[in-house]
Assembly symmetry: C2
Homo-oligomer: 102 residues x 2
Amino acid sequence: MKETTICPRLSKAMELLGKRWTTLILYQLLDGSQRFNEIESALPVSGRLLSERLKELEKEGLVERKVFTEVPVRVEYSLTDKGKALEGAIREVEKWSQIWIN
Amino acid sequence: MKETTICPRLSKAMELLGKRWTTLILYQLLDGSQRFNEIESALPVSGRLLSERLKELEKEGLVERKVFTEVPVRVEYSLTDKGKALEGAIREVEKWSQIWIN
DNA sequence: AAATATAAGTTACTTTTCGTAAGTTAGGGT
DNA sequence: ACCCTAACTTACGAAAAGTAACTTATATTT
């Protein structure tokens, strides 16, 4: 096994946040609870990956899933406290992008 | 082409920062200029990917590459101003990970 | 009563990216 | 002449991502 000197918590955090689409999904949910199709329309992500990512985020406790048994079914996703706690970090990236990206 | 409503700058930023290892490489360089092998030893990243990521980061202007023609050759990588400007964001993720990750 | 519509996925298949290990390059030391 | 070292690079099988078609449940339309 390869030995590393980097902080294991940050490393584990980046395993999640470093996956494609994860941060943009969280950013989208900073606006509040949203349905599957709303998120899918807001981002250039396919349903397959969005579904996979939301499951991971739910499993890691950053996102909560609520099902409303209407017809057709409505499913809403929202940030938990753990997810909301990332707002500072995400806003910093947003600020950086406004300054440094064209 | 799929239409999206998300901020294009943030989206472009995440295309870079969301790639595997990118943020950890930048985090490692927050400690100052480092050689290829130092970064490789600090992170569980292979030489192949480290090389690829450093090239991308150099191309995007976040990292600077300096060659010292000694024997054997020494190459040092460091953050540019654009790269250093990400410190705030990276520190926020670090703080979050200390609180929320086990 | 059968056909249609809709949200939220899921499946099947192709393409791209990643991980691992071996190979390359350049010059200096033995 | 051969070995050593840092910094890559290549080859190739494995894993992840992209695309589009399909599924499920039930209410509304025909």
